[in-house]
């Protein structure tokens, strides 16, 4: 490498570089500022704004014209002048051209104070405009609820267009027309529908594309900025919160190459709106004689303690949102365990816990996030990746563009923005599909397989080839985790990975799913990953075998469980339910007895452990809503009131340090302790005749309570509502057509796999329209979870019966 280095001079400073690097990249590294608008290090080079013109010479011969620093490769011995008379004149010229048609409305522009054009023009701004012709006025387009446009301000740098083509993989924005008439837009006034769309707001150097929710709410100079970590998926995107007073006004990405690069998903960008939702729980409430009463914290805490102690140790169950901080989870498990119960879990959407005994201690993605891009072959099992982990989907897309084989095994085909090999099979057949892949590689696993197709061969051999090169990966996603045969699928995936010499990885669903493993907030894990003497009840067992008392943390019981009906039934039957929550909800109103308002995202300090096992701490950035209190403090007080040991921490940091201490020496490792044996688990049978398997995917904006309360996100096309997606052929067999209203029936009770539905007293019912979608496997139907109406349903993956209304 070092032989490859060359040296050049920029503004008299000696710099080293790699041949082929562009002048601007070298200058950036050296801290030499060259103005630019079109250049962006993550996008292809357009060299169209002509702002970065500099003077250069090679071998003593000056280039005849100023050259664009963003598109001129460096050479050994090159001399570059970025501020010479010639260079400045060229830059000034460009600046003037950019400004002649740019409205000089900075005082009312949302970008005012943080506008690249404004900043750069300050440096040249001595010119009185010589332009006395009429300025261009451009009609605006409505790009949807997230992005506001003011296209008269556009300077045609095409960053947004290139972002669409290269990063989002969806070319919604284009530059139509030519010359002066060139316009950036969709041309047909289309809502931009992509999970990463908000990044164009950051990319736009001027105020042409701005945040619609943020628009006109604050001026840049009124804001202070705090660092934070995104609370939704397991990427743990690094954020910058912009704050005025005690309100988060907007969220921006913070560069971290290893995690989120310079991007964030729209979910991470716009979910802050949920913080100021009118639905926030802002004061402690007690239910007395069926009536809610506002009480002070003291009274509420006493009531809570009573409620937690009343049922007796074995009758207390604790269910925690996996987006809870490491500190909260740690103190929760400590509180509950000191109370004598090991019934504690965050795996709310999991149904099959048969493999718990074989669980790895510190499961993870299997590799650092950034390395996803270098994989040559990836098999994704049971994952709607773009919805679950938008930025990991982006990393895999980069790998695909680089030639990697991205294969998927899912109950429905995904709309991806890159080439892929997709296997589509109803959940009961997923295991057979995996066995088929192993069989192709000459290592059959016991059990049924499907007929081997060319696609199986293609996928298996691609995985094997990638594995041989050390760049193969088998990943399990949220749909796999929700499957009633998850243990089996996981074991088969592990066996396949081993055969193909690929790594095995887990796409941890939520911001702190991995943290649960380390904090010990699972029935079979203590802090640091050790096993308790006897594991407690898992999330499912706590509901099928209802407890008399529950402690709920940060969740909405009718939205966040694998089987909301079951959860609600269990909670209804309990004597005591204490819920610590960010939001009010009808479901909590109904089942809880004590409601304690806790700090949400941005309101508390804490730690998330992301998919790759990276611990990321953050500080509280704003005051909690109303009377809410940081969760860890509430728990500390409860512990202290009970005079329990280990609740004396003075700050969140000390809690963190305790967990860290418990985890010292622990490294991520995905080995299952008894994988082979698990492949012999019996499959839960397919649904009985007349029923289909429901696939209750979790739409991107239904993933947790905060997102569900963010209004702008809920208005985007990606926010799904309850519907019954059926393959046209399946629909025809059922005598259904698009738009038909149907009744959905999912049985309660037996989750051990009887597969019977409907004829049960506790059967639940919902109504929804039919949508035809030929990407869905036969034998199943996609009915989203977490959305309005889904609370009346049963297991997210499980049998469902569909009846036409009026038939």
């Amino acid at each position: 490498m070092s032989d490859d280095k060359i040296t050049l001079e920029i503004d008299g400073r000696l710099c080293t570089a790699v041949p082929g690097e562009m002048i601007i990249a070298v200058a950036d590294r050296e801290g030499i500022a060259i103005p630019r608008f079109c250049y962006h290090e993550k996008l292809s080079i357009a060299a169209n704004c002509r702002m970065c013109l500099v003077e250069a010479e090679q071998g003593g011969r000056p280039f005849p014209k100023p050259v664009p620093a963003c598109a001129t490769p460096v050479n050994d011995g090159m001399k570059v002048l970025t501020r010479s008379k010639k260079a400045l004149d060229a830059q000034r010229g460009t600046m003037e051209f950019l400004l002649i048609n740019h409205p000089l409305d900075c005082p009312i522009c949302d970008q005012g104070g943080e506008c690249e054009l404004q900043d750069v023009s300050m440096g040249y701004g001595e010119d009185v405009s010589r332009f006395s012709e009429r300025k261009r006025v451009v009609k605006d387009e409505d790009l949807g609820p997230l992005i506001a446009t003011e296209m008269t301000r556009c300077i045609h740098c095409t960053r947004c267009v290139r972002f669409g083509a290269e990063i989002a993989g969806l070319r919604e924005l284009g530059a139509t027309g030519r010359g002066e008439d060139m316009r950036i837009g969709t041309f047909v006034e289309r809502t931009v529908a992509h999970e990463l769309s908000g990044n164009i707001i950051d990319l736009c150097p001027v105020g042409a594309l701005t945040s619609k929710p943020y628009r006109f709410t604050a001026r840049a100079w009124e804001l202070t900025s705090e660092e934070s970590i995104a609370p939704h998926d397991s990427v743990g995107s690094n954020l910058r919160l912009h704050i005025r007073g005690s309100q988060v006004m907007r969220v921006h990405p913070r560069d971290n190459e290893a995690v989120n690069e310079c991007w964030i998903s729209d979910r991470d960008r716009f979910s802050y709106e949920g913080l100021s939702s009118p639905e926030r729980l802002t004061e402690p409430l007690l239910k007395r004689n069926g009536q809610w009463q506002t009480v002070d914290w003291q009274e509420a805490l006493h009531a809570a303690l009573e409620a937690l102690q009343a049922p007796g140790p074995d009758q207390l169950g604790c269910l925690i949102s996996p987006t809870a901080t490491l500190e909260e989870q740690y103190l929760l498990q400590r509180l509950v365990r000191t109370l004598g119960s090991d019934h504690i879990d965050t795996r709310l959407r999991q149904q099959d816990f048969r493999g718990d005994a074989a669980d790895p201690t510190f499961p993870w993605l299997g590799l650092p996030i950034a390395e996803l891009e270098q994989q040559q072959g990836v098999l994704l099992i049971g994952s709607d990746l773009r919805q679950e982990q938008p930025l990991l989907a982006h990393r895999l897309r980069m790998a695909a563009l680089d030639g990697a084989t991205i294969a998927l095994l899912n109950p429905y085909a995904l709309a991806l923005n890159h080439a892929s090999l997709q296997l589509v099979a109803a959940p009961p057949a997923l295991a057979s599909e995996l066995r088929a892949l192993s069989q192709v590689l000459g290592k059959p696993v016991q059990g049924a397989t499907v007929e081997i197709s060319d696609r199986h061969r293609q996928i298996a051999t691609a995985l094997q080839a990638a594995g041989k090169a050390g760049q193969g990966l088998v990943l399990l996603g949220a749909l796999a985790e929700a499957d009633p045969d998850y243990s089996l699928i996981r074991a088969l995936a592990a066996a396949l990975a081993e055969t193909a010499e690929c790594r095995l990885g887990f796409l941890a669903a939520a911001a702190n799913s991995i943290g649960s493993r380390l904090a010990g907030s699972l029935p079979h894990r203590l802090p640091g990953g050790a096993a308790p003497k006897r594991p407690g009840l898992d999330a499912q067992a706590m509901l099928t075998d209802p407890r008399q008392g529950y402690l709920l943390w940060g969740l909405e019981p009718d939205r966040d469980f694998a089987d909301p009906s079951l959860a609600m039934a269990a909670l209804r039957s309990a004597k005591q339910v204490v819920a610590c929550s960010h939001f009010k909800s009808a479901a909590l109103d109904e089942v809880a007895d004590v409601l304690l308002p806790i700090s949400a995202f941005a309101e508390t300090a804490g730690t998330f452990v992301n998919a790759e096992g990276r611990w990321q701490r953050f500080q509280g950035a704003v005051a909690p809503a109303g009377d809410a209190r940081p969760g860890w403090k509430v728990l500390r007080v409860l512990g202290t009131m009970l005079e329990f040991d280990g609740f004396g921490q003075n700050n969140a940091r000390e809690v963190h340090d305790e967990v860290a201490h418990a985890c010292s020496g622990l490294a991520p490792d995905n080995r299952l302790s008894d994988a082979r044996a698990l492949t012999a688990i019996t499959e839960r049978s397919a649904p009985s005749a007349g029923a289909l398997t429901r696939i209750g995917n979790l739409p991107i904006y239904a993933s947790d309570a905060l997102v569900r309360h963010a209004p702008a996100l809920q208005r985007t096309p990606l926010a799904e509502s309850l519907a019954v997606y059926l393959h046209p052929q399946q629909a025809a067999d059922l005598g259904l057509t698009e738009g038909d209203q149907v009744r959905l029936i999912q049985g309660a009770g037996s989750h051990s796999g009887s597969g019977s539905v409907g004829d049960n007293a506790a059967a639940k019912e919902a109504r929804a329209p039919v949508v035809l979608d030929d990407r869905i496997a036969l034998g199943c139907t996609r009915i989203p979870a977490g959305v309005d109406g889904s609370e009346a349903l049963g297991p997210i993956i499980g049998p469902v019966r569909i009846e036409k209304i009026g038939a």
Binding site: E41, K42, L43, S44, I45, G164, A165, E166, L170, R171, E172, L173, G174, A175, T176, G177, R178, T186, F187, V188, L401, A415, N417
Partner: protein, 175 residues
């Protein structure tokens, strides 16, 4: 990152047999065959031209979308092309297009007079269509037949050294 030159191909989830007409598809396929298989989009210009001819001289959004679907292109990329080139019309046009070259050689040869003549006689400004829908009058940049200035392209035929009298006759002879 450096320069990119990869096809923009997207998977357009439609049955190609439902797009355009079988004849148009066959014609487009002839063009598609000229280019590498992964570069179907190279045929977008001939495809738009064919579709426009078939549609009475203009391209509707629906037709552009169908071309996009047929060639597995993002719709936006097709709009970009359709709005970039002067020979595509995105609004309904008259039965005939009368395109007068307005560039230097033709201007020196009397194109301006010719244009004023058409404007007055048919009461139509450049870019407009006559009330009877007979013709759309367009100014064109250099038509590349400068030695016959002024040049007028009427539909697919060039007319050379056109005088006001000559253009009257040409237009009269159109149906």
């Amino acid at each position: 990152m450096s320069f990119r030159n990869t096809p923009l191909a997207v998977i357009q989830d439609v049955d190609k047999e439902t797009l355009l007409t079988p004849e148009l598809r066959a014609e487009i396929d002839k063009h598609v065959a000229k280019y590498p298989p992964e570069w179907k989009q190279s045929a977008v210009m001939p495809a738009l031209t064919l579709v426009q001819d078939h549609n009475g001289g203009w391209l509707s959004r629906e037709l552009m979308d169908q071309v996009a679907a047929y060639l597995d292109m993002p719709e936006t990329a097709v709009y970009e092309v359709a709005t970039f080139y002067a020979m595509y019309d995105l609004e309904p046009v008259g039965r005939h297009k009368v395109c007068v070259c307005n560039s230097i050689s033709c201007m020196l040869g009397g194109a301006e007079e010719l244009m004023h003549h058409i404007e007055k006689k048919h009461n139509v400004a450049p870019g407009g269509t006559t009330a009877d829908g007979k013709l759309t009058f367009k100014e064109f940049e250099c038509l590349g037949a400068c030695r016959h200035a002024p040049v007028v392209m009427v539909d697919k035929a060039y007319h050379e050294c056109v005088t006001p009298d000559a253009i009257d006759k040409i237009i009269d002879d159109l149906d």
